[in-house]
């Protein structure tokens, strides 16, 4: 009986079309986005800023849920902590922009011991516990007079720049944070840690076990996601710039990052980006005020989760075998030589 395939007849590739094309396309996009404040209108640049903040958060949430199997509804804890860390450094005299990476580090540092508590729970109980953490962070910050308690505090250190320069700097900061978040996730998933995560995903038993390697992979991912959300919180504080507990710790961030990823596609890097694009396009065209956008988005997210769990990008990718930011492999049988 003839073997099904020989080693020579099978090709293993990162994606089906030329990676060079991919790279050129991405370079163009990156170039355009970097130059945006000088190319497009102020209002579009402002929308792009919010887009970048959402993409950052969604990418981090996707890393947690789509790749490491942890459904967190409490990432807003780190958004808030990142904002308040930035506030702290700014009050102490540091340039808020310089404080961004520091805020991210602070959040990562806080996340590390938190995992020792959180990882005692699984599934839905883990999820609610993340929310308890967020609630606790909100409450604790709210009692600290240094930060202005429940009323909040204005972020100092922004008045040296002129208004135009300030908005340009804010834009660049959010863009750089988003870019780093996506690049960082991409590199992480292509690293050895990414392999561990991929094997956890494919093997249900491994993902439920608490073997040392699995647990430390999860811990690492949780810390990274916290840092990423912290950075998002930092640029959020800079862009608002009145830092208030109920705003930066709001469950709304959780809802947005989750819905956007669910719709775009869990477990792919492009998914959160696609979802965020859809979100903003819809938000602009609908011009909804109040809570309707969340209602509609939530409903769409639920529908997508049940009927198209790979999300819109996941479905597109499965059909056309396209990867913009490939982290997996395709195995194809090579076409026979004529």
């Amino acid at each position: 009986m003839a073997p099904l395939a020989t080693l020579e007849s099978v090709k293993v590739r990162r994606s089906t079309h030329s990676p060079l094309l991919n790279l050129i396309g991405l370079a163009i996009v990156v170039g355009l986005l970097s130059a945006a404040p000088w190319i497009v209108s102020q209002s579009l640049a402002s929308i792009l800023m919010n887009f970048f903040i959402l993409v950052t958060m969604a990418t981090m949430w996707n890393l947690l849920a789509g790749y490491a199997g942890m459904v967190s509804i409490g990432q807003q804890a780190f958004v808030g902590l990142g904002a308040y860390a930035t506030l702290y450094f700014a009050i102490k005299g540091m340039n808020p922009f310089v404080a961004i990476p520091l805020a991210a580090l602070v959040c990562g540092a806080i996340a590390f011991p938190v995992t020792y508590l959180l990882f005692r729970l699984r599934g839905g109980y883990f999820s609610i516990a993340t929310w308890v953490i967020a609630d606790t962070a909100l409450l604790v910050i709210g009692t600290i007079a240094f930060f202005g308690g429940g009323t909040g505090h204005l972020l100092p250190g922004l008045s040296n720049l002129g208004p135009r320069a300030l908005t340009d700097a804010e834009y660049l900061a959010t863009w750089i944070v988003a870019f780093c978040a996506i690049l960082g996730t991409y590199l992480l998933l292509r690293s050895r840690l990414g392999l561990v995560l991929a094997s956890m995903r494919d093997n249900e038993v491994a993902s439920r076990s608490s073997g040392a390697r699995v647990t430390s992979a999860r811990r690492m991912v949780f810390v990274v996601a916290a840092a990423g959300c912290g950075a998002a919180g930092a640029v959020l504080a800079i862009s608002q710039p009145f830092v208030q507990p109920n705003s930066v710790f709001s469950l709304q961030w959780a809802a947005e990052m989750i819905f956007v990823t669910m719709i775009g596609g869990l477990g792919t890097i492009e998914g959160p980006i696609v979802g965020s694009i859809i979100f903003f396009v819809l938000q602009q065209s609908l011009q909804q005020q109040g809570a309707w956008y969340l209602i509609i988005f939530g409903t769409v997210a639920m529908v997508v989760a049940i009927w198209q769990p790979r999300g819109l990008w996941g479905a597109f990718r499965a059909k056309f075998h396209v990867e913009l930011l490939p982290v997996g492999h395709w195995v194809r049988e090579a076409k026979p030589e004529k």
């Binding site: 109980y125 989750i258 969340l294 989760a305």
Partner: protein, 290 residues
Amino acid sequence: MIWVNVLIQGILVGGFYALFACGLSLMFGVMKVINLAHGDVAVVAGYTAVFLAPQLHIAEVWSFVVVVPIFAVAGYVIQRTLIQKSIDRDPFTTLLVTFGLSVVIENLLLEIYSANGQSVNIGSLIGDSIHVSNVIYISYISLTVLITAIVVLGALQLFLSKTGTGRLIRAVADDREAAQLSGANYRHIFGIAAAIAFATVALAGIAYGMMTEIAPTSGGINLLYAFESVVIGGIGSLWGTLVGGVLLGIAQQVGAQINPEYQVLAGNLLFLIILGVRPHGLFGKKTAFS
């Protein structure tokens, strides 16, 4: 003496938390589902009671007679459609869908009612209390809710241990496939469990509306308390949930006594301590953790 009052208030509110939480506990025990919209169901029940009572020309205090059965049916239907479809996918999807449901419900309520609260009016009962001493007050409504909680939990426990359907529920919770092989339609059993969960939380929602004002976002906070009660008391134990609720209530009252801002925080801290020191809670069986 003040601390005796703190203790008593804690016990009273603990009863409410237990009533709120028993449905959450049941749904997890039977179908391994955490319904993140559990708290919001209670809030919708409260608003429904306020809406229906004048329509049906009954006093709001009796609204539960109508509302609870409605929610039992709603729970069955939602379970057999939305939640079952999510379960068929994977536990992940169930979490995400119930989360989405929660956000949608809360925001719908916000749109309809705006952020002002609506209070379920029970006329002369509200605010009346037994004065045991100068410092110790036991409000009638809180006492009623505590007694209701104990009665409901007791009835539920009896139902599960003594009746045929209760046995089926326990069997499905224990080993779903084996239950199917014994003739049980597990989807139907899931529906019944959800119906009970929705009914009890609807009752809790109405009680809540009698004790304080309901707001569209009240569901979230109470879900938190319910969850904390279950974890402190021990996942998988109904009476444990009562104990957990009471302990949570006491912790919160102690915190509030020190500084009103610390009330919720004190409860969260107790929860985190139990999580760190004894994750399966006081009476729990090991089901939800590593």
